[in-house]
Symmetry: C2
Subunit: 378 residues, 2 copies
Amino acid sequence: MKFTIQRDHLLAALNDVMKAVSSKTTIPILTGIKIDASEDGIRITGSDADITIQTFVPTEKDGDQLIQVESSGSIVLQARMFNEIVRKLPTNEVEIEVSEQYQTRIQSGKSDFHLIGLEPAEYPMLPEVSEETQITIPGDLLKSIIRETVFAVSTSESRPVLTGVNWKITEDGLVCVATDSHRLARRIVSLENLPTNVESVVIPGKSLTELSKVLTDSTTPVNIYMTNQQVLFKTEDVLFFSRLLEGNYPDTNRLIPDEYQTNVKINGKELLQAIDRASLLAREERNNVVRFSTLENDSIEISSNSPEIGKVEEEIQVQELTGEDLRISFSAKYMMDALKSIDGQDVIIQFTGAMRPFIIRSIHDESILQLILPVRTY
Amino acid sequence: MKFTIQRDHLLAALNDVMKAVSSKTTIPILTGIKIDASEDGIRITGSDADITIQTFVPTEKDGDQLIQVESSGSIVLQARMFNEIVRKLPTNEVEIEVSEQYQTRIQSGKSDFHLIGLEPAEYPMLPEVSEETQITIPGDLLKSIIRETVFAVSTSESRPVLTGVNWKITEDGLVCVATDSHRLARRIVSLENLPTNVESVVIPGKSLTELSKVLTDSTTPVNIYMTNQQVLFKTEDVLFFSRLLEGNYPDTNRLIPDEYQTNVKINGKELLQAIDRASLLAREERNNVVRFSTLENDSIEISSNSPEIGKVEEEIQVQELTGEDLRISFSAKYMMDALKSIDGQDVIIQFTGAMRPFIIRSIHDESILQLILPVRTY
């Protein structure tokens, strides 16, 4: 194997692949990345057994020659070391040559590295994913869906299925739900041509977080292929595989109240900042719980009181306040996460009494719903 | 005590003072900062017993009213909490009022905090520093002096005096030396009107690092007052006190060779980057030691060889190479630290054989000297 590649293209490809490589892996070969050079370009693969990422750099792109392949072949190189070397090479032209015994020479300018590579045949094959059940979503929309839901997955392994986001194909479209049983995030995406062999999958939250870093903010479509054990996200140059979580995802529809006693329309950014301040005092003694109270004259109060430290009261003018008076307590963190996912827009918050879950929506967009369970404080 | 202050001026003052506040302190009152309000402005003090920083915000500056003091007084508030609250307040106008029992109210817009303060009389007094032994240095020069020396202090407490930088007033000017006994950094500053009651002090490296963060890059003079136990750096609005280290600082002059067998003039930035790359392979197995060899045709080689990982060779064209051929090994980190302190300029490196300390200087500036002890590798 011998080829010359432009350093910045190699770096960009490595940057994506490195997101799948974990230093904590127990499988030695997975500390490496696999490089395959062929006439049409090079493929780089990284994996932590849960996530596998493969990027492709074509020999030629938009008329520019990115790679000159002199002879094809494969090699596995220590991922972290190779990535750092490439990042620090002195010129944009990098020659990589593998000789016998997986000896790999990396040359750039007057810098000359010899690395001891690993046997490429030992590297695991890509997961098998049939191209049958396919969904196509613009990349930027996919990023939004992830951002609006993934923060609500459970971080505890006591119910592993809750560490993932449930993607369900329904009559309403693609329904994405995450919950840690104290709060819930739901995003409904109207999509046409959804597959009919209906599927419900649970994608690990960590996979979606890494996928989100690989996606660009463009509308370029991402093709998604699902099987029972794996999902593949396919962009122009990247294949992103993730294993799926096993187990039945709970039915969360019954958690969402169907009637409300108090409705508040309010600026999401103002509310977020007030809760952020109030949580400064709530963090240490009160488990980050703040109180929300309706006041007269169309305003509400966010407050917190910690006998040892002090107290804080934040008053906010609302845009509309209808229904019953209310005092309710909830986690400042959950509320801030929910408001951030709605991104500073005006929101409507709907309550069904101090002991029942309440929901937060953008007033402009029905497709995102955030639900939070209150905390008893008496 | 009651006053109204512009939030951005309060924040800037707090930002400096917080550099002295440690969360690890064993003295409870030092988790707080002291605020003193008087007719001319407010003073804020923070301390970790080693370093004490006091900033001053005047009532009026350049014709702008920064503070309105309604009644004077003092209070101690939890530093981290107060700082975070001020950072997050909604408007630029902040009212602070202390009532009985050190109850402190902080108001800004519709945000209303009540903090439980601490008794200001319990806060330690500022260290006493007579204004006798005074040196005046422009702020930006002081920052350079620190940057060029402080990295070389010892991080081990086995010889506490080596964790500081030795400042000595001599006939040549102010001589600043740091060494951890494996390398040495020396900066000589020609200054006029140095005090004659000759002083040699050892300032803790940590204090200088924090001082450097408080200093701006302007030529505004900093007045320095020294006593046997304390040093005070005084700028327009900041008092920075540090305790001094006790013990005799070793005489380091005898370490510096007075004749050289090999002289190399080379671009500092190119050398730095080559060593940075070579150290990638040297880090894991070889304790970060790289080899430096003179080659023919006016060039040198930086190399490293780790049997398990691979090897690297970096060739660099030099500007001038005189004297004997040489192969020498040294710590990549020490060399990189030294070259960074000289800031990418062309350097001259002077060797006295493979087993003797060698020195690095800028070819443009005789005032900085870096010395490194080689490592035996046979």
